[in-house]
């Protein structure tokens, strides 16, 4: 009886996991959010989520609607870049977190080729790139980024800190 009860509970847990089962078109998509340090699977109650699915261009969305299914072009991988300033401290209340860099202009370099992108109002951009090694530059910050065919790479670019007291 214990095993059956556990099995039932397991089914309930699986069915109610927040990262799946929210719509028929989202069965294979995984949701991620930035927790202030790194991307984690799951979603915040508010704010944008990153939808990731192998072979598809990742999407940044704030709602729960099914993401648009844009297949990655052959030989490319997806990249999600998030630009922000870290916020820390708080003598009166905790102000730990991050401030998105809306409209940040990011350079992407690969050998002698270079391009520039703007982050959206939430500090994100997504892009499909040929597999390979890249360098991101934003203000004085540089980040290495490895793109693999059909996969999604998550990169966070922190350009500074706000120390709140």
């Amino acid at each position: 009886m214990v095993k059956q009860t556990v099995a039932l509970f397991l089914m309930a847990v699986v069915l109610l996991r927040p990262s799946c089962g929210e719509g028929s078109g989202m069965q294979s998509w995984k949701k991620y959010f930035f927790d202030g340090q790194e991307f984690r699977e799951g979603a915040l109650s508010s704010g944008p989520s990153v939808y990731q699915r192998d072979g598809y261009l990742p999407m940044i969305q704030t709602g729960n609607e099914a993401p648009r299914e844009d297949k990655l072009p052959p030989g490319t991988g997806g990249a999600v870049v998030f630009c922000h300033i870290q916020s820390a401290g708080g003598k009166l209340q905790n102000h730990g977190g991050y401030i998105p860099l809306a409209g940040a202009a990011v350079e992407i370099r690969n050998g002698d080729r270079m391009m520039a992108l703007r982050a959206d109002a939430n500090g994100y951009f997504v892009i499909a790139l040929p597999a390979g090694e890249y360098e991101l530059r934003l203000q004085g910050v540089r980040r290495k980024m490895r793109v693999e065919t059909g996969k999604t790479t998550f990169v966070t670019v922190r350009t500074g800190k706000r120390m709140v007291d």
């Binding site: 009860t5 109610l16 109650s45 708080g90 520039a116 703007r118 500074g160 800190k161 706000r162 007291d165």
Partner: protein, 608 residues
């Protein structure tokens, strides 16, 4: 420009993320073009482009920022979204007056004369500058002279040597005294950043009591300007030490304000968390750890704190992560003939003995240590409550006290079993406040305190200090009983500030991220209130035997993970989720059990 046809795929992504408004009017075009040119040179739309290798082109951005702020309302909403980051420096509630330059020319005080952000308008000397603005300027000049002059820190860098920007803004509604924010690298690819400071416009709100007015200004100026100095040294500083240093220096500059002592109880309540635990008011992380700097300053002179920051200045981080400060502190102390471990032990002793040599008239403000357990019934054996065992992460400590009672032995013998890296020492305090230190007999693993059960003895305090860099170091102890509690499972699970026994057993590792979530939940929501602490103490008392069984059976571990799932989800996401899960679980369990209970009720009693 684009030789590889595959780069055409960039369009695929780029077309979906071009917030630029192609029909933006003249002002939009002007600001978009000027700000774009700071980092890259490209067309209005975000297509693949080539850019010059050199980074910043325009060194002085202040006029451009001012213009952007002035014309903000005239820009289209799309342009505002794009350029919002350039308004990180605050836009004040009214027209900004000409910045007031401090007497020595080191600071530009930005303020407005209208709206919520306006400082008190009184202008006793009739120079059309509010007196408060002049006070702010003079306070910052004093802070500058002390921090860069007396203490010898390099001034906070500014572009082209311009005055440092300080903004006055109403921050009470945001529950902030002030903040400092990194701005731009001093040179391309440098870790030395310029910054700016925003402080409350008057510190008049009751929120700041009893540090309203001048006191609030003084402690904020001292604190924030040191952050500005830190950005100049290396913006990849470890945040806990940045707060510990900025807090420490407040009292070095303004000795009579004494706000810093308010942060000590949280640290001493959470001494079982590491010295470099993340910044938090509830755990004393960062702010409360300032007292370690006072210990270092007393032992080596205040200059040693500067040496630590200067050492950080020479370091870089290939992945852009913050640079941990504890190894740097250790390095600096070793070059002074000591080590972090050695000084951490002497620091934790000093917290009990209270033999501080500076600010001696303020020693009473330093909260006494807060023991994790107190025993008055003897012998203290393995089954005692609280469990006579402490597990500590790196650079953490715990005090355990023993008070004389009718069952107390004449001489108290403490028997300890410790891991490497953990040091134990006992103190006997008499009723007159005299303290005697009793070292550990390393061969026997005992500390013998003679004359414990005598009228003159107030208490015995056992200090267990993890002076090493490894986490999960367990020390078991008994009092007046030679038998030690059974050793814990290698120190990977813990009590008293460590991990969660059952979760660690279920997930197989103290470092599993779900265990981390539960630990964070415990530290933030349970250890911060009395009922929560009782719950945690009970959990640590009852769970070790269960955890041992769970850890040995895969099926139990799997089951445990399932049962813990709603708790982890609740801790991680939202409590509503767990309510939903528990409801479903209860309904399903009820549906499953109800028919069986009914049928069992219908069965005739046995023997009939």
């Amino acid at each position: 420009m684009i030789r590889n046809p595959r780069w055409i795929f960039f369009f695929f992504a780029l077309l979906s993320l071009t917030p630029c408004d192609a029909s933006a009017a003249g002002l939009d075009d002007y600001y978009l073009g000027r700000f774009d040119s700071q980092y890259v040179s490209h067309e209005r739309t975000a297509l693949a482009i080539a850019a010059p290798e050199d980074g910043l082109k325009e060194r002085c951005l202040t006029p451009l920022h001012r213009g952007l702020r002035r014309d903000w309302s005239k820009l289209s909403s799309d342009t505002q979204k794009i350029l919002a980051k350039h308004l990180a420096k605050p836009a004040l509630s009214g027209q900004e007056a000409a910045p007031f330059i401090s007497a020595e020319g080191h600071f530009a005080i930005h303020y407005t004369a209208s709206g919520n952000d306006a400082p008190p308008p009184a202008d006793a000397n009739g120079n059309r500058v509010p007196d408060w603005v002049e006070t702010v300027a003079s306070v910052f000049e004093f802070v500058y002279s002390r921090e860069t002059g007396s203490f010898g820190y390099s001034p906070a860098p500014t572009l082209s040597g311009r005055p440092y920007d300080v903004y006055l803004q109403d921050l009470a509604g945001r529950s902030e005294y002030g903040y400092s924010e990194s701005d731009t690298p001093v040179t391309p690819d440098s870790n030395s950043y310029t910054s700016f400071i925003v402080i409350d416009n008057d510190f008049a709100n009751h929120l700041y009591a009893p540090y309203t007015g001048l006191k609030g200004l003084q402690l904020s100026a001292a604190h924030e300007y040191h952050h500005a100095i830190q950005y100049g040294y290396n913006y990849l500083f470890d945040i806990w030490y940045a707060e510990a240093t900025s807090t420490w220096i407040e009292d070095e500059l303004y000795d009579s304000i004494n706000q810093i002592y308010n942060y000590l109880p949280a640290y001493l309540r959470n001494s079982t968390l590491s010295l470099d635990t993340p910044v938090s008011l509830s755990t004393g992380g960062g702010y409360g750890r300032w007292i370690f700097n006072r210990h270092l300053a007393e032992r080596y002179g205040a200059g040693i704190i500067k040496v630590v920051w200067e050492r950080l200045k020479t370091l870089s981080s290939p992945d852009g992560a913050d640079i941990p400060m504890l190894p740097i502190i250790d390095d600096v102390l070793r070059s002074n003939g000591s080590s972090l471990g050695s000084d951490f032990l002497s620091f934790t002793k000093k917290l009990y003995v209270r033999d501080w040599t500076s600010h001696t008239d303020e020693i009473a403000n330093i909260h006494t240590v807060l023991p994790v357990a107190d025993y008055s019934s003897y012998p203290v054996m393995a089954a005692a409550f609280p469990t006579p065992s402490v597990t500590l992460p790196h650079n953490a400590f715990a005090y355990v006290t023993f008070t004389p009672s009718a069952t107390a032995p004449q001489d108290l013998v403490l028997t300890l079993g410790t891991n490497n890296g953990t040091t134990a020492v006992a103190f006997k305090k008499d009723t007159g406040g005299m303290i005697t230190e009793y070292p550990l007999n390393p061969g026997a693993g005992t500390i013998t305190i003679s004359g414990f059960n005598t009228p003159g003895t107030a208490e015995v305090a056992l200090l267990i200090s993890n002076t090493g860099i490894s986490d999960g170091r367990t020390t078991n102890f008994t009092a007046d009983s030679p038998a030690l509690p059974p050793p814990s499972n290698g120190g990977s699970s813990s009590s008293g500030g460590g991990g969660c026994f059952i979760a660690t057993a279920a997930y197989g590792s103290y470092l599993h991220h779900k265990v981390l979530i539960l630990r964070e939940f415990r530290d933030r929501h349970l250890l911060t209130n009395a009922p929560g602490r009782i719950l945690v103490a009970l959990y640590y008392h009852l769970s070790p035997p269960l955890a041992d069984v769970i850890a040995r059976h895969d099926l139990l571990r799997s089951g445990c993970r399932i049962l813990l799932t709603p708790v982890v989800i609740a801790a991680e996401y939202h409590s509503l989720t767990v309510l939903l899960l528990l409801t479903v679980f209860c309904v399903l369990t009820g549906m499953f059990l109800a028919p069986r209970l009914k049928s069992s009720c219908r069965q005739p009693p046995l023997g009939k």
